[in-house]
Symmetry: C2
Subunit: 308 residues, 2 copies
């Protein structure tokens, strides 16, 4: 079985949406990526750091999904990264109410020995120097390194971010961040500029408006599945990244045609994530639910036009 | 050849975008719909009203595209509808600087005798009572009546608008307008609510984010083709409607499968419209350019996933 190495936060989230609010619940990029990737036949591990306050049941949940958690450091007496946020009525924007880095502030990632030769590395949104540290610990050049990032690092660690972008095969980034990174409004121009920074593949995420995959002049688009209700968008981007990287690790095929499929799988899984608070929907997601929704994706997008 | 009856403005537009500005040029919903529909094998006619100030060359242009202009009334001494607008930097929003209704204020549409049995009627954005007047002049119930409208009529003539919506088979409307009309934020719920108002088919246009087609639980999505530069969005929605209605008139097939293709054709043609000011790009658009871009649409959206 191929190995997928995931780096990302395992954290407490506290969320308020127009539909309700939670207490502190399980969250974090590493968590969502791992749960989503577990839908595929891969051997995955999460590298992260938490405090002793993280309930054992959260770690047990990850283990129950066949995720190797030996790379999740538990800092004695430490507290787990905590984020609290409130979504606006349209769910497209949110206010961060609390961010406590806690143990994340001094995070030194340690890649488990048996994952230093992982075929695929998924670098979740974290300080770019942590992402670089992980790349440097790999004993073999992975078949595919995928990077997720956000505007915070463009504002606060641009040089480190550009250094890690240079090293990766795929970047996933949202539309506004692609524009900020490149100073180009047109997403086609932005993708071209990002290609020049290093990544062969550029995935631009547009939230409810879908995702674009760019590869040297080729473009593919996957919509987000239209949903009656979006309940809580938290983790949707990470769930996309988990489905995307999990599928690519399971197939070990880095062609454009296969990355198109990875984008569809990522979008498909993200459509479940937003149906409940936090990780709730992803924890119990069944294979046949996933298959059924893939059929909906096909029906949504496929057409048959004869062209002269 | 099937007949397509178009009702819509033939007008003067004066446009400013971040890329430049125009003098008074040819515009109007009827114009864009007609030019776009002329890409298909249909016999089309425009019902509209203009003043004597409209240059004969504009009418000659429409005639040269095999559009019957006998239903375009030229009011002696009258002035043509005139709109002046300025787009913001992102081209997603604009300010209307001038609107002069002129001859449009007293428009009494007269459907040419030989189009009173048209198979398809495309009601461009106009006062709903004018749209209703056209429907009432048809001697045979058309196979398909398509309605385009906008928020202005929801604010100012809601009862008349609801009466005409009740009479049509297809409505095309943008996302914000669908929300306003139904008080539903979710577009799926909005489409359901609009189905209940009458139309069997609901097309929700999302501008650069594509278009959704709804039909009693079935959903189809067509993206907008990503473009390096959008030069001038004026007329894109009408060009979509022209391609959509022109294709449906040419094929006379009102199945969901065929409406999917119509959405693709409409989106494809709209992608050309925005490449130049006003009607410039559509005036000289060649069949092989259209075919080539349809292939791009296929490449952009088609994938091949085997689902368990």
């Amino acid at each position: 079985m191929s190995k997928l190495l995931i780096v990302g936060t395992v954290a407490f989230d506290e969320i308020e949406t127009p539909f309700g609010k939670t207490d502190k619940i399980l969250g974090g990029a590493g968590t969502f990526i791992g749960l989503s990737a577990s839908q595929f036949e891969v051997s995955s591990a999460i590298v992260s750091v938490v405090g002793e306050d993280l309930p054992q049941e959260y770690l047990d949940l990850l283990k129950s999904k066949n995720i190797d958690i030996s790379g999740i450091e538990i800092v004695k007496g430490g507290k787990t990264f905590y984020w609290k946020g409130k979504y606006h009525n349209d769910l497209n924007s949110r206010d961060t109410l609390v961010t406590e880095l806690n143990t994340l502030a001094d995070f030194n990632p340690i890649v488990p020995e048996n994952f230093k030769n992982a075929e695929v590395v998924m670098l979740g949104n974290l300080h770019p120097s942590i992402q670089m540290d992980v790349i440097n610990q790999m004993t073999e050049r992975p078949k595919l390194i995928i990077l997720d990032t956000m505007n915070f690092w463009m504002d606060n660690a641009l040089d480190e971010l550009l250094a890690v972008i240079k090293k990766v095969d795929v970047i996933t980034i949202n539309d506004e961040e692609a524009r900020q990174l490149t100073n180009e409004y047109s997403l086609i121009k932005a993708a071209k500029a990002i290609h020049k920074m290093g990544p062969k593949y550029v995935v631009i995420k547009k939230g409810e408006h879908g995702a674009l995959l760019f590869n040297n002049g080729n473009i593919f688009f996957a919509p987000a599945l239209p949903l009656e209700e979006v309940f809580d968008p938290t983790g949707a981007g990470d769930t996309f990244a988990g489905g995307f990287s999990g599928y690519l690790a399971a197939t070990e095929d880095t062609s454009f045609e296969n990355l198109k499929k990875a984008v569809i799988h990522g979008s498909n899984l993200a459509s479940f994530c937003v149906e409940r608070f936090g990780t709730e929907r992803m924890e119990n997601l069944k294979r046949d639910e996933v298959s059924k929704r893939l059929h909906q994706f096909k029906a949504l997008t496929q057409f048959d036009i004869e062209i002269e």
